[in-house]
């Protein structure tokens, strides 16, 4: 498996499918585990790290995970390849740019990754499109059971699975959902969402942006408490309470835009279209910011039945890579979100590009996808 096989398209969990996918882009469940009989990575020698890496890699590659898997040695990969894996959410930034022997076992369909020697010896993740948290949890639990047949995890009856950082102690479970919340942002209510998340003991961070700023209106919402609560309770809280509430907030904001602030909406969508169809140089940040508004427009049409003049014009934009040539799809917009990120651009182009060349190539890909021939 070559990374360029991955970089030419979006992954399954980002194709715009799945329950509630107009707002919940994807669901992820992660487990943190350490092997008994070894120190945590802060105190491990490189020899220990190599031993752990080999042990876990061999086990993971021998399991039937329902898909072909491949292994990447992260410490031996090029910086561009590592960036690509981060952009595709297959490994964390700290795994990509950490130290010492470390690797990742990845399913070809990208629903599963095992990071070996990240902050803990083993970090497993399962990702799915839309709101599918319990399905992710079920699958990761099964994989964890299979691994556990072959190794002994560091576990204490009192504290559960022992992790390098006490904040992951207990179940080691981290449920994260990627949310697209453009209407809350546009109506100036995003702070309300932050506060509600904080009150529920959840962490929010921006995605695809630099630092924590969510230029694309994409946010990741995760649980923080992992001890004193069961895996099932965490999953149920997300599925029964947290997600329905956020979806309700965002939908109320979308309806508010349509009924009371249609001029704001028309302006944002029209400006985004005009810029994306005509720009000759566009930065990743600006592209993400504008594509978010197009995504909102398409979803308002599909789910709220909106057909304002700007939305009508937007839906009529067809491009060479749309499934349905007569109309623009969410899949196309999602593709643009991911395929115009810096590492994707360069790997698909075949060689490293400086920022100006990247901006030109990005603008060209977007114009072509939006049906502009020149």
């Amino acid at each position: 498996m070559k990374l360029t096989d991955l970089s030419s398209d979006i992954n399954e969990w980002f194709d715009g499918s799945g329950p509630l996918s107009d707002i919940v882009i994807s669901s992820r469940v992660r487990l943190a585990r350490n092997l008994a009989g070894y120190k945590f990575l802060t105190r491990c020698s490189n020899t220990d790290k190599s031993e752990i890496l080999k042990k876990l890699k061999d086990i993971l590659l021998s399991l039937d995970l329902g898909d072909k898997v491949f292994y990447i040695s992260i410490d031996k990969s090029s910086a561009l390849d590592r960036h690509l894996l981060v952009e595709r959410h297959l490994i964390s930034r700290s795994h990509a740019f950490g130290k010492g022997p470390r690797g990742a076992v990845i399913a070809e369909r990208e629903f599963f990754t095992a990071m070996i020697n990240e902050e803990d010896h083993l970090r497993l993740q399962v990702l799915k499109a839309g709101c599918q948290i319990s399905s992710c949890a079920k699958q990761i639990n099964k994989i964890d059971d299979m691994i556990e047949q072959k190794v002994e995890y560091a576990f204490s009856p009192r504290y559960g699975y022992l992790t390098a950082c006490p904040t992951n102690l207990g179940t080691g479970i981290r449920v994260s959902v990627m949310l697209h919340l453009p209407a809350l942002k546009m109506t100036g209510q995003i702070e309300k969402f932050f506060n509600a998340a904080r009150d529920m003991g959840l962490a929010v961070r921006g995605l695809f942006g630099e630092g924590t700023e969510a230029v694309s209106d994409l946010y990741q919402l995760s649980n923080q408490v992992t001890l004193g609560i069961s895996e099932d309770s965490v999953v149920t809280a997300f599925e029964k309470t947290i997600i329905p509430e956020v979806v309700e907030y965002e939908n109320a904001a979308r309806n508010q835009l349509l009924s009371r602030q249609s001029d704001v909406l028309e302006d944002k969508i029209s400006r985004a279209m005009a810029l994306l169809q005509n720009a000759r140089l566009i930065s990743s940040q600006e592209a993400l910011f504008l594509l978010s508004h197009l995504r909102l427009g398409l979803n308002l049409h599909k789910h709220q039945g909106a057909s304002t003049p700007a939305i009508k014009r937007l839906c009529a934009l067809g491009g060479s890579d749309t499934d349905d040539k007569s109309s623009l799809s969410i899949r196309t917009i999602n593709r643009l979100f991911m395929l115009t990120l810096p590492a994707h651009l360069q790997l698909n182009y075949g060689k490293p590009l400086d920022a100006t060349h990247r901006d030109a190539l990005r603008a060209q890909i977007i114009r072509s996808a939006l049906g502009q021939t020149s």
């Binding site: 556990e148 009856p157 390098a164 950082c165 006490p166 001890l227 004193g228």
Partner: protein, 165 residues
């Protein structure tokens, strides 16, 4: 209370500022607070959180007259001082070795939780498993009672009684 700026919306953000000993209060609605650039910090980096938590704890000398400060884990050579810097522990035994210092921090990081009540590895001995399952059931019972789900509470109580026989 109404927002001091727009005089229309309900004030939900209350700021107290003390400059040179002079105290002033502001009561704003969310929209005006945002316009004034007042945002509430919602995410705190883990490292910062951990070192803040450690910093506010009473020192061990204050508590019991003896100190964890000079304690070194016999398994990995780790000290609390290193944990304060790195926010990561050295080995699984550190949880026992530094338990006294770590427990208040664990409790705060997990919203009061100090005992595991989730998945158990299949290798855990049967006795320990039973104990943990009982703990989990009691925890669920507590939640059910708090949520006034008495039907569920009765079922859990019966299950606990049966296990304790």
């Amino acid at each position: 209370m109404q927002c001091q700026i727009c005089n229309k919306n309900e004030a939900t953000i209350h700021l107290t500022e003390i400059i040179d000993g002079v105290r002033s209060e502001m009561h704003l609605c969310e929209i005006c607070a945002q316009e004034q650039g007042i945002a509430i910090k919602t995410t705190i980096p883990v490292n910062e959180l951990l070192s803040n938590l450690l910093a506010v704890q009473p020192t061990d000398e204050e508590l019991s007259g003896h100190s964890d400060k000079d304690l070194i884990c016999p398994h990995c050579g780790f000290t609390l001082e290193q944990f304060r810097k790195e926010a990561l522990l050295g080995c699984p035994y550190d949880y026992e070795v530094f338990e006294k210092s770590l427990l208040p921090l664990i409790e705060r990081a997990h919203n009061g939780g100090t005992t595991h009540c989730g998945k158990l590895p299949s290798r855990v001995p049967r006795d320990a498993k039973r104990q943990i399952e009982l703990l989990n059931l009691r925890h669920q019972l507590e939640t059910a009672v708090q949520g006034e789900d008495y039907e569920m509470a009765a079922k859990l109580r019966d299950k606990i009684n049966q296990m304790e026989k």
